[in-house]
Symmetry: C2
Subunit: 209 residues, 2 copies
Amino acid sequence: MAERGRPRNFDRAAALQQAMNIFWQRGYEGASLCDLTAAMGINAPSLYAAFGCKEALFREAVQLYSEREGLLTARALTEQPTARQAVEALLRDNVGAFTDPKKPAGCMIVLAATNCSTANQAISDHLLERRRFITAALRRRLQRAIKEGDLPRVDVTAIANYYTTLLQGLSIQARDGASRAALNRIVDCGMATWNTLIETAKTASLIKA
Amino acid sequence: MAERGRPRNFDRAAALQQAMNIFWQRGYEGASLCDLTAAMGINAPSLYAAFGCKEALFREAVQLYSEREGLLTARALTEQPTARQAVEALLRDNVGAFTDPKKPAGCMIVLAATNCSTANQAISDHLLERRRFITAALRRRLQRAIKEGDLPRVDVTAIANYYTTLLQGLSIQARDGASRAALNRIVDCGMATWNTLIETAKTASLIKA
DNA sequence: GCATTTATATATCGAACGATACAGAATCAG
DNA sequence: CTGATTCTGTATCGTTCGATATATAAATGC
């Protein structure tokens, strides 16, 4: 353990988590360095020494968020036996997280950089990539269901995009103060229509072909 | 018309429209005064003399946006004969507007202040109020449909919230670069399930009662 | 002990932010 | 014409932004 020099005086992981919460709550540009250092309990030079710059800190915070909160989504998609159960678990689990009073409302990936100045386009693009990754994961899960015979041959892109859109809308609703019950009521609507939706995607896909 | 003093050298309405476009594209905080004055073709003092301050300019821009783009929604809700047609027209017309290449993608009311610094909470609240107004208009339209016998007695709040969520999700999808065809494909999914959804909202409402 | 290394706290830095002071230009009333 | 009024362009204002220079404190290696 060749830890030369004065040892760090704060818990880097704990500080990162605080930074994540601030970014989650206020967005990339809405979170000032002053906000960040105050929440992290350190001064600016310590922040820069430990994380590089604001953008690098944000990317680490997004990574932490993905590992923490994205776990819900990943588990819902992999562990549920059927596509329908996977989609419903994905929606319900995220609604639960979106309305956890101990956390900022809604999804950080969706909300933290919806509008950025042109100088921070890279930040927007980074989150856009993450959003597309989630949609792709859902699409792959639906494809797996077709292969497993759990789902008829449907337009998986359409279904995945539809539920992604609903999920992103739920983030806005959560941020706007909707209750967990209200959001679950919306999920009820989204899931009640599953059978019809699959039929539609099937026929539409056939019409296209 | 006692127009005293030196006359204004620019078209106030045209300048406001340019400001609206900048706010629409970059959001309230993402749009700097430099961006605004450049797009409006005027200098800062002219902007302040004509509009007061950045926040007042933004509120006027939101008002203009509501009158211009909100017209689509208002017309869809009032002019279509049935609730189903009204909702579908609302979604289709907004998808058309969201993907108009001559305009910024997505809805300004949804995207322009999703994450604001605490100093500009009033801006967020203003747009939140507008969003709630739109949901309320949809809910009233559904209630009207029940009164007209066009719709069974359903949980109109749930249906209105569901389609609002979908519409807000569509704004994010549009901003993320989704094509008009892709968004219409999502609307297909949302509308294909109308009958099932109404049945569900009916029974659920009865269960509740 | 002493040199080296790294982290900390204070005190900024230059740039960009929203917003104005000011002088000059353009119109009106008389 | 003169005086009053309003708009315009230049040149800032004070503040906050993200990011650092500097000196000191706390650890290690020898």
